[in-house]
Each structure stands twice: as C-alpha cells, then as structure tokens.
C-alpha cells in the first residue's frame, strides 16, 4: 500500500538536512573531544587521549570561571526577562490605541540583530560620548564618568540588559498567547464572587498561566545559554575574562587558540547541559499538549 509510506516520504528531505547539519557534526565533535588536535601544530588529529580534554576542563580556572559567568548570566537574565514579560503581557492584554502601538513596536527589538544590539549598547554606554552614560551622569552626578564596560560587575549588568531588551518581547508574546487561552469566564466569575483586581490576578490568572510561564522560563534558559553575539560585540569577554560565558569560552579555545580537541570537549559539556534542559522542556511541552487535547 503506497499510502503507508507517504508520511515518511514527506519527512525525508528535512531529516536529511537535520542529520547532515546537526547529528553528523555532533558525532564528529564527540569523537574529536577524545583526541588531541592543536591546529597550530598538527594538521591531523592525534590518537585518542581518553577523557584528557574533559579532565583538563574540570581543572582549568578559566573554564570554571566561564561556567560561573554563565550561571550568573542565565539566572539574572531569565529572571528579569520572565518578570518583565509577565508584567508586560498583563499590561498589553487590554485594548487601546497605545496598547496596539506598543504591541507592534514590541517586535522590533526581537527582529534586531543581536550583534548590532551589542554594538549599540557599547556605543550608548561609552563614558565620554555614550548617550546613556552621559545622560545618567548628568542626572546623578555620582555616576558621572563611570567606565561602565571596564567594571566587571557593570559590564555583566549591561550584557544582561542587552539580552533582556532583546528577548523580553518574544517572551511577552508567549505570555500573551497563554493569557489569550485562559477563558474570560473564570475571571468574570471571580469578580462577581467579589475578588479584587489584584486577587483576580494573583489567584485566578497567574495560576492558569503556570504552564506557559514554565515553558517560557525553560525556553529563555536555553536561549540564554546560547547567547554569544553580544559577548563579542559588547564586551569581548572583558574586562579580563569577567564576561566570558561558556559559549564564548568554547569559541575562544577553538578559534583563537585553535585547540580543537579541547574545544570539542567543552562544546560537549555545553551540549549536555542543553540536552538535559531541552529534554525537560520537551517533556513538559508534550504533557501540556496532552492536557490541551483531552
């Protein structure tokens, strides 16, 4: 029966692409991660060195630092984005001309190239002629002349800011979608039962958004772990290595030091973290789906 193979036939082209462009490279780098391969010295990879590269990673201070930087970045950026997105979605749920306008321009930060965002913020926080740096300095004299990007903590804060600016819109759209799927009746019933607006939000609306918020949080975590462009264009990992995330560290080891074996091992550490989180994510997603179907 020809029909039986039809659904599979449709999948073939896409799966050829996925296999060739992700599964194969992953396997390739997995093998490389057990070899020594310094491109500056070797044309071909050496024999297998077992877990050498992984051991190297665990003991290296720069790796530990990048892991720590990643954790701080992911945590603050996810938390801020999520809170802002929830608040903004509640604000934008109502109808009105200004609401519509805000919803339309909300797409702009998301459509903007992250590399460009990094460049723009670097410009705006320039202590001499950056509009934000100078503007803040003239409002709060204590902040005058602060070298924002030369201070490790401030540089990190600005890095988080660019990411929040970039991702809050997307997450707001997701929350708006979640809000739209809540039946209006539950809120109306609560209001008639005598609940205040605040209590309706807290006790009726937010609990029903739980699923969406969870999905948004995990998705944002994944995006934050992947964040790379702004590190290059905003801070360059600096000052020192204070804003070097894991993704940037992999890049540095691979394409500045050309230590391919070590870089592959680091890449796999990052991948394992991702697989773990995305597995969690997909499971929730599938469960949510089931809940919606039934």
């Amino acid at each position: 029966m020809r029909d039986r193979y039809f659904p599979y036939a449709l999948l073939v082209p896409a799966f050829v692409i996925v296999l060739a462009t992700t599964i194969y490279p992953l396997a390739y780098s997995f093998i490389t991660s057990f070899r020594e391969w310094d491109l500056t010295r070797q044309r071909r990879p050496s024999d297998f060195v077992g877990f050498g590269n992984y051991q190297h990673a665990i003991t290296e201070a720069a790796f530990q630092s990048s892991l720590w930087v990643t954790i701080i970045f992911v945590f603050t950026s996810v938390l801020l984005t999520l809170v802002l997105a929830i608040l903004l979605s509640l604000l934008l749920r109502r109808q009105g001309p200004l609401h519509t306008f805000t919803r339309i321009i909300l797409i702009l930060p998301f459509a903007m190239s992250p590399a460009l965002i990094g460049v723009s913020y670097r410009f705006m926080f320039n202590p001499e002629f950056g509009v934000i740096a100078v503007g803040l300095g003239s409002i709060f004299p204590t902040l005058k002349g602060i070298p924002w990007l030369a201070n490790p903590n401030l540089a990190m804060a600005i890095l988080v800011l660019t990411d929040v600016w970039h991702w809050t819109p997307y997450m707001t759209f997701m929350c708006l979608g979640g809000l739209a799927s809540i039946p209006r009746e539950t809120e109306e019933a609560a209001k008639i039962d005598g609940a205040s607006s605040f209590r309706v939000m807290w006790e009726i609306v937010l609990p029903q958004m739980k699923g969406v918020i969870l999905i948004t949080a995990i998705l944002k975590t994944i995006f934050a772990l992947k964040m790379f462009d702004q590190v290059v264009t905003l801070t360059g990992g600096g000052p020192g290595i204070s804003t070097e995330t894991l993704a940037y560290f992999v890049f540095k080891v691979g394409f500045k030091w050309f230590d391919m074996g070590y870089a592959s091992a680091l890449a796999w550490v990052l991948t394992l973290i991702m697989i773990f989180i995305s597995f969690w994510y997909v499971r929730i997603l599938l469960n949510e789906n089931r809940a919606i179907i039934k």
Binding site: D3, P7, L10, L11, P13, A14, I17, V18, T21, T22, I23, Y24, P25, L26, S29, T32, L88, L91, G96, L98, T102, R103, I105, L106, I107, L108, A111, M112, S113, P114, A115, L116, V119, S120, R122, F123, M124, E128, F129, V134, F173, M174, L176, G177, G178, G211, I215, T216, L225, F228, D229, T233, V250, F251, G254, F255, L270, M274, S278, V282
Partner: protein, 271 residues
C-alpha cells in the same frame, strides 16, 4: 477617580515601555545621520547628512558585497529550508506514524544545540574541503539552525488548519500529493510566508557562523559591523549607518508579519 488613576498609570507605563524599546533604535538612526564630529557628542542639534551611507559602500568598507552575501545566504537558506520543513511539518501534523514522537523530539531538541557546538566540526570539515569563506558553507550551517525551528513553526500553523477540507478533497478524488498542492498549500500560505520571513530574519542576523567561517569574500553584514572597530577607535557614525542598513529591511518584514508572527511563535510553543 480611581479608574482614571489606573488609566493614567497604565498609559504612563506604556509610554515608558515604548520609549525603552524605541530609544536605542532611534539613537542609532540619529547617529547614522551625523557627521563624525557630531557623533561624538550628545547633540540633537546637528546638520543631518547622508554621507555615511555613501562612505560605507566605498573602499575599504565595501558594504555592498556584504549586503549581497547576506541577502544570498538568507534567501537561499529560506528557499531550501522552507519547502523541506513544510513537508515534514505537514507529516508531523497530520499523520500518526510510528516513531513520530521520537522524530519530533529529535527535531525539537536539535534546535537547542548551541551554534558554537555545530560550527566547530563544520569549521574542520570546510577547512579540509576548501569551503571556508564561501557562501555555500554559510548556507549549510544556517540550515542546521533554521530547519528545526521552521518545522516547528509551520507545524503550529498547519495544526490550526481544519482537516475537513483535506479529507473532502481526498473523497472528491484527489491523490495525496494533489491534496497538498491544491488544498494545503494555498491554505497554509500565510503561515508558510510568516515562517519564511522569520527564517530570513534569523539567517540575516546570524553572526557567529559568519564570524568563524568567513574572512573576506563571504562576510555578512552583522560581522561587517566589527570592521568599524579600527585602530583609530570605533567609527560610530559608520557603524550606525551599517546598523540602519541591516535593520531597515528586517523591520519592514517584521512589521509586515507582526500579526501572524505573534500567533506563529506562540502556536508553536504552546500548542
């Protein structure tokens, strides 16, 4: 009284939010119109000039070839990814085939693999194949990022289409392929178009691949930005002009699909 206060607070917040969204973009546009002298001061009072937009196309910046690279890489990526993904999305959406869950899980997971992980082996492969600094190399790696995402997104759109019309067509005498051509494609066009634009934006803005895999010939716009960081310091007015050139086409597209876009990405994630 209380109602008015809430109204005022709400609108004040919206104004603040809108300002925070628009200001960085506005500042970039403004800077792109300034002469170098004005770019290094925070003035609104300056003689606007389009000089920067001409300069960036001249030697040594040659933004023209980068525009071409970006457009070609993004365009061809879309033309390969979207048809293949549409077929797969249709299959995932409509058929309960064996192993479907595992396959879909695979697709969903691959989009979470960091780009830096994928580019590492590709760099080694392209190096031995002599494909470094070519558009083909960029298209191949971009497909890795974009394909799973587009499958996911188009599936969301197709899920929302009623299956009745397709069944009606099968009973009316259409073959499976005919159903796709005559019924599914026309109905899914808005969704597919939205996904295509989304895919174009992702590829157009892509930075890491281009940074690693290109040197001179295949450099794309976002990486071109880095060139304006010279020994003489950062050339902000030129960087801003280049930024405007990167941004304007994307903004136009984004606003064009704004309505579907919202639905598309939430449909994919929530449903």
């Amino acid at each position: 009284m209380k109602k008015k206060l809430i109204w005022a607070a709400e609108h004040a917040l919206l104004v603040v939010v809108s300002f925070m969204i628009i200001f960085p973009i506005f500042w970039m546009f403004l800077t792109s119109l300034k002469r170098p002298i004005d770019a290094y001061s925070i003035t609104f009072n300056f003689q606007p000039t389009f000089e920067n937009f001409i300069t960036v196309f001249r030697d040594p910046w040659n933004l023209g070839s980068m525009v071409l690279n970006s457009a070609l890489v993004a365009g061809i990526t879309v033309m390969i990814a979207v048809p293949c993904s549409s077929l797969a999305a249709y299959s995932f959406s409509r058929f309960r085939v064996k192993g479907r869950k595992i396959l879909f899980f695979l697709v969903l997971s691959t989009q979470f693999i960091p780009a830096v992980v994928i580019v590492l082996p590709f760099f080694l492969m392209f190096r031995s194949l002599g494909l470094l600094d070519t558009r083909i190399a960029l298209i191949i790696v971009n497909l890795a990022i974009v394909t799973p995402f587009v499958i996911w997104m188009i599936k969301g759109f197709i899920d929302a289409l009623p299956v009745d019309s397709e069944e009606a067509a099968m009973i009316d005498g259409a073959s499976r392929l005919r159903v796709i051509r005559d019924i599914v494609l026309p109905m899914a066009t808005p969704g597919i178009l939205t996904s295509s634009i989304f895919c174009f934006i992702l590829t157009w803005n892509e930075f890491l691949f281009s940074l690693i895999l290109t040197r001179r010939n295949a450099v794309t716009l976002p990486v071109g930005l880095v060139n304006f960081r010279t020994e003489r310091g950062d050339l902000w007015e030129l960087m801003s002009a280049a930024g405007v050139l990167i941004t304007v086409p994307i903004f136009l597209m984004a606003i064009l699909i704004q309505k579907h876009f919202t639905r598309g990405m939430t449909a994919g994630a929530i449903k």
